[in-house]
């Protein structure tokens, strides 16, 4: 390798490094939304009974993932239906869930993100959850989520369950 080639390889390495750094510090909207979902799953996780204070704190933190005027419709067969119209409803529902379960873990899989414009995106995903009350069991629901860029980050504006099989 001559001196000229060596210089070129340095420039190439530098360009790759810059591209990686740009991607890391300024992720695309899609990457930001995917990261939000990962963080949401992490915040939803529950392993062992929590104190009431911790439950309230965690539920409050979770509320930040949602827009103030969020609408959510959760319809799971054999379970009560949830309709939420604002962020505080989500916090209340989360609190109730955290107080009633010992173990909860959720994972968002098969996520597809479609950007509608700079501040709105439609996401379809499957939420695979593991619960524990008496027995630990598994369930999965399909979700359609609208994310909006509000108050400096992507937040959930609409969330509803999708039925693959329906009457």
């Amino acid at each position: 390798m001559n001196l000229q080639q060596l210089k070129w390889s340095h420039w190439l390495l530098l360009a790759i490094l810059l591209a990686l750094l740009t991607k890391w510090f300024w992720p695309t909207p899609e990457a930001q939304i995917r990261r939000q979902l990962r963080d949401l799953a992490q915040h939803l996780q529950l392993d062992g009974k929590e104190s009431p204070l911790n439950s309230a704190h965690n539920a409050q933190k979770l509320g930040e993932f949602f827009a103030p005027e969020v609408t959510a419709e959760i319809h799971i067969k054999d379970r009560p239906q949830y309709f939420m119209r604002k962020r505080s409803d989500v916090v209340d529902a989360t609190l109730l869930l955290r107080r009633s379960l010992k173990y909860f873990q959720v994972e968002f899989i098969d996520t597809q993100v479609r950007l509608e414009n700079d501040s709105r995106a439609q996401v379809t995903t499957t939420a695979k959850a593991r619960f524990d009350n008496e027995d630990r069991y598994f369930d999965a629901i399909e979700l359609e989520i609208i994310f909006v860029f509000e108050e400096g980050r992507w937040r959930i504006k609409d969330l509803k369950t999708v039925q693959a099989i329906a009457l």
């Binding site: 899989i109 098969d110 979700l143 693959a164 009457l167």
Partner: protein, 128 residues
């Protein structure tokens, strides 16, 4: 394609809790048929529902005291396990819709996941 079935998702007697296999090529040259046990995708293919097709596009489905009627004709269903007297009023299927039910029908109809499914959600036939 291998898929993992959770215990309460097993709706077909030949299946067991654990791994099952789906033939994704089964509907390349043919269309899903009545009696086929198929995998139905959710947002993607990592998690699937497994159900049996009883109604084909354009047909009318009626369930009366646990018996399934297609366009007014009773459907023979030797695979059904412990049917309860379900009732479901007439449902007309669109040209891209199938009607699916599990074989274990010993629950209340409200507790059983049955209904119409779009063709594009059927990803293949379940082998075992």
């Amino acid at each position: 394609m291998p898929v993992r079935l959770p215990k309460h998702q097993v709706q077909i007697p030949s299946q067991h809790w654990g791994w099952s296999f789906i033939n994704r090529l089964s509907y390349i040259s043919s269309t899903p048929g009545r009696g086929d046990v198929v995998a139905i995708r959710m947002a993607g293919e990592s998690v699937v529902h497994v159900r049996r097709i009883v109604g084909l596009p354009g047909e009318e489905i009626l369930i009366l005291r646990g018996k399934v009627y297609i366009n007014g004709q009773e459907l023979e269903e030797p695979y059904v396990v412990a049917a309860r007297p379900w009732n479901l009023s007439d449902i007309k299927l669109a040209q891209d819709e199938y009607f699916v039910i599990g074989d274990f029908r010993n629950t209340m109809i409200e507790d059983h996941l049955l209904g119409k499914v779009n063709r594009e959600r059927i990803i293949g036939k379940v082998l075992f």
